[in-house]
């Protein structure tokens, strides 16, 4: 399955023409960086092969190294779901609040949370892990965190298949709204994870203790995201609810994913747009910070 894209000859496309165009005007200058660094889209496009190869490398290595292979991507969310259900639902008595069985309620939130936290973690370490590349070869550094966000999607889709199985088991069928908005919710998660990941990646290069603070940051973040509890539990704390909606786009994504896919509570359009907007803002902040520090990564990485 993951035997490598290069064996697939149908995928071959002719980019000779583009190559020549690029070549005819390859004159470029290297000069001290200005203050405002914009994203060089044509350059990113030229390096798409490298992006694909690095993503393929990460996926290939991940499923090659573990004996369990794909099974690992299945076991992790299921085990977490069983343990969390036991602790938070059976022992602590947390309920879904709208009559949804707790395991599927939890799993839907966890699906998005695991993608988000995994991407943030991997993206923030991508430059340090690939320091040998960064120090020896030029390429748009943005490729490295972007690769992390892409490879995380494989695990996400595997976990999504499990959700589909659970929905059949529990007798849920997704509504139209849920299916149509799901890509938007996923996009929101990707942008939010990338924004935070890019920011952390660039400060991780400079400050090496960020790596140690990160697990703490991620686990704290999980408790201020409605993964194991419904947002409705915050009804008595309106300020907390507002802060969560406006500062934590993932909370909106999770709530709406549950509403859309499981259909037990109402889909909140306003929250969806807020989440999307805030994610875009995070992405822009992350990108700008990354771009402004990017050129010095090789000196300090």
């Amino acid at each position: 399955m993951l035997n490598g894209w290069h064996c697939d000859d149908n995928q071959e496309y002719d980019n000779t023409a583009l190559y020549w165009i690029v070549n005819l005007k390859t004159e470029f200058t290297i000069s001290p960086p200005g203050r405002l660094a914009r994203i060089n889209w044509p350059e990113l496009w030229r390096y798409r092969d490298l992006f694909l190869v690095l993503a393929w490398r990460d996926i290939s290595v991940r499923y090659k190294q573990t004996v369990l292979g794909v099974l690992w991507a299945i076991l992790q969310p299921i085990t977490t779901m069983i343990i969390f259900t036991f602790i938070f639902n059976r022992m602590a008595g947390i309920q879904s609040g709208d009559g949804t069985p707790y395991p599927i309620f939890l799993y839907t939130g966890q699906l998005i949370w695991l993608y988000f936290s995994g991407t943030v973690t991997k993206a923030s370490q991508s430059l340090v892990v690939n320091a040998s590349l960064v120090q020896k070869i030029y390429f748009p550094r943005l490729i490295l965190p972007a690769t992390s966000a892409t490879t995380g999607l494989i695990d996400f889709f595997i976990a999504l298949i499990i959700l589909a199985g659970m929905m059949i088991w529990y007798g849920f069928s997704p509504g139209w709204i849920g299916l149509l908005t799901f890509p938007i919710l996923l996009l929101t998660s990707i942008m939010c994870a990338m924004g935070i990941g890019l920011f952390l990646a660039s400060i991780n290069v400079k400050y090496r203790d960020v790596r140690h603070a990160l697990p703490f940051f991620i686990s704290t973040l999980m408790y201020i995201t409605p993964v194991i509890y419904p947002v409705s539990m915050l009804d008595n704390y309106p300020w907390a609810k507002i802060a969560m909606t406006w500062l934590n786009p993932i909370s909106g994504v999770i709530t709406n994913a549950r509403a859309g896919l499981l259909g037990k509570s109402e889909f909140d359009w306003q929250v969806m747009w807020i989440s999307l907007l805030v994610s875009i803002v995070y992405l822009i902040i992350g990108l700008r910070h990354f771009r402004s520090t990017e050129r010095y990564f090789a000196d300090i990485a």
Partner: protein
């Protein structure tokens, strides 16, 4: 003549020494420092300027390279060669100045960058190729050529972690060697592999240079530079010392940049010597065949060993035989040459003077050799400095006149000869 393919104008790169010494900052320290600073400002304490020294790794470097030229970049360690390459490869930005490049650039600062041990040879060819800037199509087109060059057909689907180090390096270089950019920037990648493979790499590099592509090449191997490059630039402490024809720049490097004290011991005042002392060796140096003092000699070049002497007052030494010897760094005696061997003894010498021993086509590989000196008068030892008179630094050179100049590192003596069959 069209515009030069690379134009470098007033290039400079500054590092902060503080940042160099402590590359891994911690956010905790940084926050603590800022808090302390804010506290001091609040209490109107005197602002303590943090000590930060600037260090210019490169300063005011300007030169240009025409299309199809191969330019060698030479200089001692720390002269700024690597920094220049990193700026040319866009890995790090310059602090000032500008470079204009008119062509696709590929840089090779290391072979095997990005190789993943878990992946097979086949997979790593694609991975490494993409990292070096090849498109998938290009890699696919050259795949068989790369595999053949690396001689790893049998192990194509074995993870590279099971490769021998030789196979690993061969594969890595093979991928790099098949890059086809207009401008190729190469660091000392030839310092890998066995002598056999180094020769192959150098040959491949020569093909690239002769194929009309522009090559910038950093090396300590003067023979490789001389064989490969028509021009060269010499960096010293971040400044451009000289540039021009490779031959002249290499000569300048050997004459000036290598410190002369490298082959000096304080011979005049040394008491660690045996012999009557009627006539003593007081100084030693090496000259090239133009009569200039040099700090190093390339293999295969002519040179002169010069020994300055002083005879004791009121002594008129007769029948003087002077000899030199060369020993390897491990201390084994390699060769010696007394003047009497070639039928020459000296009589009626002035009080002071210089013995000169001309050696054509120096038959030594690159290394630092100890030079011993000894004088006898009437076959009685007159002077013999125990720890030698100085050192001879030999740089790699083109001894056999074949343009290669890469020899086995453990064999100090170079044997000349010809081969044929009968």
């Amino acid at each position: 003549m069209s515009n030069p393919i690379i134009e470098i104008e007033n290039l400079g790169k500054k590092y902060r020494i503080g940042a160099l010494r402590e590359p891994y900052l911690s956010l905790r320290d940084s926050v603590a420092h800022k808090a302390k600073h804010a506290w001091n400002v609040l209490r109107r304490k005197e602002h303590v300027q943090q000590k930060q020294e600037d260090f210019w790794a490169l300063k005011d470097v300007s030169f240009s390279v025409n299309e199809g030229e191969a330019v060698g970049i030479i200089g001692r360690n720390g002269a700024g060669k690597s920094t220049l390459l990193k700026i040319l490869s866009q890995i790090t930005p310059p602090t000032e100045g500008k470079i204009t490049m008119r062509g696709r650039v590929a840089s090779l600062l290391e072979v095997g960058t990005g190789f993943h041990p878990e992946l097979s040879g086949r997979e790593n060819i694609f991975l490494n190729g993409a990292i070096l800037g090849m498109t998938r199509k290009e890699i696919r087109r050259k795949f068989d050529e790369i595999v053949a060059f690396a001689e790893i057909e049998m192990f194509l689907d074995t993870p590279v972690k099971r490769y021998s180090s030789g196979m690993y390096v061969r594969l890595a270089f093979a991928v790099a060697a098949h890059l086809e950019p207009e401008i190729l920037v190469v660091d000392e990648v030839l310092a890998v592999g066995d002598a056999q493979f180094q020769k192959k790499c150098l040959g491949k590099m020569q093909d690239v240079a002769k194929g009309g592509r522009t090559v910038l090449f950093v090396s300590h191997n003067m023979a490789a530079i001389e064989g490969l490059c028509s021009k060269a630039v010499l960096l010293e402490k971040g400044l451009l010392q000289s540039s021009g024809l490779a031959k002249n720049v290499i000569e300048a490097y050997l004459e000036d940049v290598l410190p002369h004290h490298l082959n000096k011991t304080d011979l005049r005042n040394s008491t660690d010597r045996s012999g009557t002392g009627d006539i003593r060796l007081v100084d030693f140096w090496i000259e090239n065949n133009a009569g200039k003092k040099v700090a190093a000699v390339s293999s295969g070049k002519d040179c002169v060993f010069a020994l300055e002497y002083e005879s004791a007052i009121n002594v008129q030494p007769k029948n003087i035989d002077v000899g030199i010897s060369l020993s390897s760094p491990s201390g084994s005696h390699l060769v010696q040459l007394y003047s009497s061997y070639v039928g020459q003894v000296f009589n009626d010498l002035p009080q002071t003077g210089v013995f000169r021993c001309q050696v054509p086509k120096l038959p030594l590989g690159p290394n630092r050799y100890t030079v011993g000196g000894r004088l006898t008068a009437n076959e009685i030892e007159a002077d013999n400095p125990i720890s030698g008179v100085g050192y001879l630094v030999v740089e790699a050179g083109d001894f056999y006149g074949t343009g290669k100049g890469v020899y086995h590192p453990n064999i100090p003596l170079l044997l000349d000869g010809t081969w044929d069959t009968k």
